[in-house]
């Protein structure tokens, strides 16, 4: 059964909504075509089905082990990792000059839908490696690139990001790891990092860490942070790899992603750890933020991936599981028992999962598409405009993907009932694996602060204005569609609510009540997520409605009976009908709440701030 990701909907977003093929008009993607796009998607799905998914449960049960300073990943991860690297997937969206395949980033994330849904824990290793290699590509010297970057993009060596310390998590500026300059220009690194994903493992011979640390005399806080390339094994000139005094002191026992090692790393316990400065001293945060957009989108994708698998599994279960009589014969003990998909409450849950997953998919892929436009644009104005969309979308993608992804997993368990809660069925693992996504790579609270504190105010709010203008342009076409006017009206009201809250925040920001926007940044972000997804689903409904009418016309179906027949017999018609249903459900069930959400923020309720700490509970 293909229960990892909805291939048809992925292709709908890629081809019919975002028109990925048109990227080939840019020199960067001149070799790209629809045929190639579909072949790549097919291979990703095949690899995911045949190699990644079969190791998902096993990897979860076996987990990582720590013994004598060594970390072992589940043995069954080796083969999928090898095939992934050998197939050229790790750097599929990077330019050929650095060893990549040069595909659009959007296609890369579409493939990730299959691979990540099949086994997120495996995907962590190349995911982290890619982020680290990209830092080297953007900021490393030619020498560092020659030694490390190519080997990382090929997957021969792995990479990590080492930010967090015991007193420096969300508050990364407080970190204490030290870097002391040596005579040869390199630095001696010493300190401890915690929660380092893939910090130590046995999938590759070497691991190259990107470590945030302070040089001597650096300014306090985030402005005094530099970033260093610190390999676990240091290549000598003759090519032999020498120990570089990086030790793993233990791994975390976690709720989920058991196959991904989460490590405590000690650098320079014996004073022999060498690191190499990336960029300039004290530029660490700026450099790190350079890969943050993609890293955060990767985490948003994680939520989408788990939602994908959870939804499709729950859907299949609802079709198979026989329980209860049909609603119209509920009290008749002789009524035949029916699959639970026939029960209204189950259908509502499935529709929530379907519309949420499709909304998230459109959101993530829109962000990926904008990243492609930034990379490919030759006109600086175009590049800047799309960069603005990306900046605005990233905190929304990260937060909505992880939070809503989790809700979808939770609903999947609800559809399964007691079996969903048991290990006998796969959905409980999706839920456990998903939870971390709202926490790492900047908690969703941090995402909200990034959106409200930084992105809204960038260029005096121009980002928001540009985004609204772009939405307006697309909606102009949707507005001409009579079939969708009820949805358009609800959308307009929701968007207006969002604009009201945005203005409210701008005003509060100028008063001594500036902490109110901080207090309600997260609900505001959620509202942005709902409105964004509502817009994208509405846009999709418009495209689907057009296609559906064409199919009806081709089949001479002008009345309800003949249309019903087409819907039963024609897969495409059923698909497009389902797309319109997703939009209608989401807009009616979720977007109608936007006004209430806006009111809950603008009521200016400060009870959460006013209450004394001991007023929360006398314990």
């Amino acid at each position: 059964m293909k229960l990892l990701a909805d291939e048809r909907d992925i292709k709908f977003v890629l081809h019919e909504q975002l028109r990925i093929e048109e990227l080939s008009r840019y020199p960067r993607f001149s070799e790209f075509s629809r045929e190639i796009c579909d072949m790549v998607l097919d291979q990703a799905e095949k690899l995911a089905e045949k190699e990644f998914y079969p190791t998902n449960r096993k990897g979860d049960e076996e987990g990582c082990t720590f013994e004598d300073g060594q970390v072992r990943v589940p043995g069954c991860f080796r083969e999928p990792y090898r095939l992934y690297c050998e197939g050229g997937w790790l750097a599929m969206a990077d330019p050929p000059e650095v060893g990549g395949q040069g595909f659009p980033f959007l296609l890369g994330n579409a493939c990730l839908e299959f691979l990540g849904s099949a086994n997120w824990a495996v995907m962590m290793y190349p995911g982290l490696t890619h982020g680290a290699a990209r830092l080297l590509e953007r900021h490393g010297s030619r020498e560092l690139q020659d030694i490390y970057m190519y080997r990382m993009y090929s997957g021969e060596w792995a990479g990590t990001m080492c930010l967090t310390e015991d007193v420096a998590g969300s508050d990364v500026g407080s970190l204490r790891t030290k870097a002391v300059k040596r005579e040869d220009g390199s630095y001696s690194i010493s300190g401890q990092k915690i929660f380092i994903s893939c910090g130590m493992h046995d999938l590759t011979e070497n691991i190259v860490h990107m470590v945030l640390a302070r040089t001597e005399g650096a300014p306090r806080g985030a402005k005094g942070i530099s970033i260093f390339v610190v390999p676990r094994l240091l290549p000598r000139e003759d090519g032999i790899l020498e120990d570089n005094d990086v030790r793993c002191a233990g791994i975390e026992k976690k709720l989920g992603i058991h196959g991904s090692s989460t490590c405590v790393l000690n650098f320079g316990e014996n004073g022999n750890c060498r690191g190499f400065l990336l960029g300039e001293e004290n530029a660490g945060m700026r450099i790190m933020f350079d890969m943050m957009n993609e890293a955060r989108l990767f985490v948003g994708m994680q939520g989408l991936c788990h939602a994908n698998a959870a939804y499709l599994h729950a859907l299949q279960y609802a079709k198979d599981r026989i329980q209860g009589a049909p609603v119209e014969r509920m009290k008749d003990p002789f009524a035949p028992r029916v699959p639970i998909i026939q029960h209204p409450d189950v259908r509502r849950m499935l529709m929530f999962m379907k519309s949420s997953t499709e909304g998230m998919r459109a959101l993530m892929h829109l962000a990926s598409y904008c990243i492609d436009r930034v990379r490919a644009a030759q006109d600086p104005g175009e590049r800047e405009r799309f960069q603005g969309y990306v900046d605005l979308l990233i905190p929304i993608c990260k937060s909505v993907g992880s939070d809503l992804g989790f809700r979808v997993c939770e609903t999947a368990i609800q559809v399964y009932g007691g079996y969903g809660y048991s290990r006998e069925y796969p959905v409980e693992q999706f839920l456990r694996d998903c939870k971390i996504a709202s926490i790492y790579e900047g908690t969703n609270g941090i995402q909200a602060l990034d959106l409200v504190g930084r992105k809204l105010t960038l260029k005096r709010g121009q980002l928001v204005k540009n985004a609204l203008a772009a939405i307006d342009e697309i909606l102009a076409k949707v507005r001409t569609n009579f079939n969708l006017r009820d949805m358009v009206q609800i959308y307009d009201e929701a968007q207006e609510s969002l604009i009201q809250v945005t203005k409210f925040f701008a005003l509060k920001g100028m008063t001594d009540e500036f902490h109110v926007p901080l207090l309600y940044a997260k609900p505001y972000l959620d509202l942005c997520g709902d409105v964004s997804m509502g817009f994208l689903l509405l846009w999709q409904a418009h495209l689907a409605d057009r296609r559906l009418r064409e199919i009806y016309r081709d089949h001479n179906a002008s009345d309800d009976v003949s249309r019903g027949k087409v819907l039963r017999e024609n897969r495409s018609a059923a698909f497009y009908f389902g797309k319109i249903a997703s939009a209608r459900f989401f807009i009616n069930q979720v977007l109608t709440q936007a006004g209430g959400r806006a009111r809950s923020i603008m009521n200016n309720d400060k009870s959460a701030l006013d209450i004394p700490d001991h007023g929360f509970a006398l314990v």
């Binding site: 059964m1 293909k2 291939e7 048809r8 070799e31 075509s33 045929e35 190639i36 579909d38 072949m39 790549v40 097919d42 291979q43 095949k46 690899l47 045949k50 095939l83 050998e86 197939g87 050229g88 997937w89 599929m92 395949q101 595909f103 017999e569 024609n570 897969r571 495409s572 698909f575």
Partner: protein
């Protein structure tokens, strides 16, 4: 070694198959298509032979424009070139005539060995291999689960009840592949492979190009016709014997049901 692999595009094994209103064909709209898995084993076997002996691997198929996708996938796996027998007359041809066209297309490539799946996961006739071999007058080694060659002789193993038998034949020879995904473990197309596939030669051939007369392929020439298709009957739900009985009572009830209702004992 000059190798030809004859492949077929079939609906994905995971597809839900529905019968079309004409009752003689299936609904193909919205179907996902793949290379017949047994033919994929043949591609893998061919690529292994090539890596050992060098030479050229050509994939051959027939069908509507969508089959080009299957050929490109084979090229992305590592085949060198491809032939698409693309002729409207093929639409109405029966299996025997389709096979004749495929044999002609394969012969054009001057192969020393032809590989294909022992069966296809669509109509499951299992005839193509034997017919092509017969038309060429070549030996046919069927149902291979292993394949070796020293460049002159081909050796295969095929399963028989309770064991395997080893068969060998001098070249040229036609081998049909049996076994399973686990035995052949066909390679995935790599991303660089997919990009290269775009530039590899893919020839379209009409029946006349192959020296065949389209008139011989008309529906009236077909020796086999599909008169109707039907879905397998729905299996009735199983019955659990419980009724609050103890083990002996359940056994007694089971015997009674088998004897009186099912009438099998």
């Amino acid at each position: 070694m000059n190798i030809v692999v004859i492949i077929k595009q079939t609906p994905d094994t995971e597809s839900v198959i529905r019968i079309a209103p004409d009752n003689k064909s299936i609904v193909t709209e919205g179907l996902k298509w793949i290379i017949n898995p047994y033919d994929e084993f043949a591609i893998e076997a061919a690529l292994r032979l090539k890596s050992k002996h060098g030479g050229n691997v050509t994939v051959v198929t027939y069908g509507p424009p969508r089959v080009v996708e299957a050929l490109r996938t084979a090229l992305a796996m590592g085949a060198d070139d491809a032939v698409h027998v693309d002729d409207p007359a093929m639409k109405t041809a029966d299996f025997l005539r389709v096979t004749r066209a495929l044999a002609a297309a394969a012969t054009e490539c001057d192969p020393e060995i032809i590989l294909m799946g022992s069966r296809a996961v669509d109509y499951d006739q299992g005839q193509r291999g034997a017919i092509v071999a017969e038309m060429l007058g070549w030996p046919h080694l069927p149902l291979a689960v292993s394949l070796e060659s020293d460049g002159k002789v081909v050796t295969i193993e095929r399963p028989i009840e309770g064991g395997k038998v080893t068969l060998e034949s001098p070249l040229p020879v036609l081998v049909t592949l049996g076994g399973s995904h686990a035995i052949w473990n066909p390679r995935y197309a790599s991303l660089p492979g997919i990009m290269k596939a775009k530039k590899k030669p893919l020839k379209a051939r009409k029946l006349t190009d192959l020296g065949l007369d389209p008139a011989d392929f008309g529906p009236e020439t077909a020796r086999i016709r599909i008169t109707s298709l039907e879905m397998p009957p729905q299996r009735a739900a199983g019955r659990m014997i419980d009724d609050g009985l103890d083990t002996e009572g359940k056994a007694r009830e089971l015997v009674r049901v088998l004897h009186e209702e099912a009438r099998v004992i």
